[in-house]
């Protein structure tokens, strides 16, 4: 199977700023691929390199095996859902959705029929006559989605599409997007800075940092075995333990990560410290213990006894839960 999108040592430098620096990645056809990273990490630039709004300063990009370095955006078989939706303010919803077909020269009747079909797909039947300004944020988001899908792209690019929505709507849209992707069998490339969104939706994901890919893999791989301190810090609320502490806990003198849900509290043990914070999360309580200058969080399931703030506790865990990372 050919990959939907391939980056071969791709760089995009703006003068001295290395927005994207030597990125290699392969996005499998039909997968939901997330690009995760803090703002300025290069993930959006990567998306724009795929859509063609940025040109690489080095390396090659292939879409379905074809080198697209010289292909302008309007000739690429990819469509984008923009962060601010970028709906055309002077056109109604139906014409917005039918735009891609209109510029291809499709006659009015079939393109309107197709637009209605797309509006039904995103649950916006009957909104065709409205102007974008008359829609709510969530509805605009759906119009942007329908407008991008009407062209039947082989790859759909989504640039933080849920960033402007409130939490509840956002979670509903996450489910819907994922269901839509499975139903249509399309390749989705999804840019986000929200780790929960990336972990819950993606088949595989790339974590970006300073223009480079810090780690690439399935959500579970990245969650369980972060390659570096950056990934562990950014992706989850994982404990990052310095070499000295790792050694004190029975490991080698290397940086390691330890998931809060694997940490148990004990009254005595090799490493102990005062409880500095308790945060009730519903199904569990997050207990933070300060050991040797490092805050270690443990998730205590509901129903189990909780220590009081200031009490001393030691930490215990299954040795296999300790994950060693690269780098000093």
């Amino acid at each position: 199977m050919t990959a939907a999108v391939e980056f071969l040592n791709v760089s995009r430098h703006f003068g001295a700023v290395k927005a994207v620096d030597g990125v290699d990645l392969t996005i499998a056809e039909g997968s939901f691929f997330a690009m995760l990273g803090p703002s300025g990490s290069g993930k959006t630039t990567c998306l724009r390199l795929i859509s063609g709004f940025e040109q690489p300063t080095g390396g090659a990009i292939r879409i379905f095996g074809e080198d697209v370095s010289t292909t302008p955006p309007h000739l690429r078989a990819v469509n984008t859902v923009f962060q601010d939706y970028a709906l055309f303010p002077h056109l109604n919803v139906r014409d917005n959705v039918a735009y891609g077909l209109m510029v291809k020269g499709m006659a009015r009747a079939p393109r309107y029929a197709k637009a209605e079909e797309m509006l039904a797909l995103v649950h916006l039947e009957g909104y065709g006559d409205r102007k974008p300004a008359q829609l709510s944020g969530g509805q605009r988001q759906r119009v942007a989605l329908a407008r991008a899908l009407v062209n039947e792209p082989r790859v759909l690019l989504l640039d933080e599409p849920l960033g402007a929505l409130d939490l509840k709507l956002r979670e509903a849209m996450q489910d819907e997007l994922k269901a839509l992707q499975v139903k249509l069998g399309l390749t989705f490339v999804f840019v986000t800075h929200d780790q929960h969104e990336a972990l819950s939706m993606a088949d595989s994901l790339a974590v970006f940092n300073e223009g480079k890919i810090a780690q690439i893999g399935t959500p579970q791989e990245i969650y369980d075995r972060p390659a570096s301190r950056f990934v562990a810090d950014f992706v989850g609320s994982s404990n990052v333990l310095p070499p000295a502490l790792t050694q004190a806990l029975g490991g080698p003198a290397r940086w390691s990560s330890l998931r809060p849900e694997t940490v148990r509290l004990a009254v005595t043990g090799p490493v102990s410290g005062p409880v500095t914070a308790l945060r009730y999360l519903g199904a569990a309580t997050r207990v933070v213990i300060r050991v040797a200058e490092t805050e270690v969080a443990a998730l205590v399931p509901a129903g189990q006894p909780l220590p009081a703030e200031g009490e001393t506790r030691s930490i215990a865990f299954d040795p296999s839960a300790l994950h060693l990372m690269e780098g000093a």
Binding site: S51, F53, P72, P73, H74, L75, V78, N79, T80, F82, D84, Y85, A86, L87, F88, P89, H90, Y99, G100, M102, V103, K104, R147, A148, N151
Partner: protein
Amino acid sequence: MRSDAPRAPLGLKIAALGGLLFLHLPILLIFLYAFTTEERTYQFPPPGLTTQWFGVAWGREDIWPPLWLSLRVAAISTVLAMILGTLIAGAMARARFFGRDQLSLLVILPIALPGVITGMSLRSAFGVMDIPFSTWTIVLGHATFCIVIVYNNAVARLRRLSGGIMEASADLGANAFQTFRHILLPNLGSALLAGGMLAFALSFDEVIVTTFTAGQQSTLPIWMYNELIRPRQRPVTNVVAIVVFAATFLPILAAYYLTRGGSDTAGAGK
């Protein structure tokens, strides 16, 4: 809401009314004297009223060439300004380059510069380059400030337009021409129309720059000025004044309504 607003003191109201009358009564007087029966002096009140001067004005051969010249100059300068002004606005909105702000200042400078300066400099430039005075020298003079009007309107609209919609259009498969035709033009249209109308109105009644760049030709405003000095059939000038008023006021009014919706610049200055 209106009843809650504090009432203005009577003195202020009278002053405001006086100011408005001082500004606008002379215009009414111009209209009034187009109908007077007295043709040599503007005596008040007019001894009688007549509409014969409209017929006389229609029959006067010397009115038509200046009128045509003015219309031609205004039309050409407007078209020129709309093309060049839009292009400059497009470049300014899209690109960030060295000297951009300075260039922007140079573009809008003609409207801030006194007309005599523009006129003198153009006249000496034509002299140096041995360019004979013609319709085109007047057009060049007018285009300097007409461009500014169109540019200001287009730039204001472009700034309000989300840059993303151009990219969205390209992303959906539209080439540059399709994006221009289906996305840029409809969103820019009313601003351009408003700018064009204002430019037309400004060009139509321009006197200062015109006197320096016209040579022996007379545009309508210059013809009117010369006519006022000569004491024959004076009300004819007033009839022409009504025509000029209509030709300039109506486009300005239309431009105002076209751009009222947003925070667009319509006149911005002149």
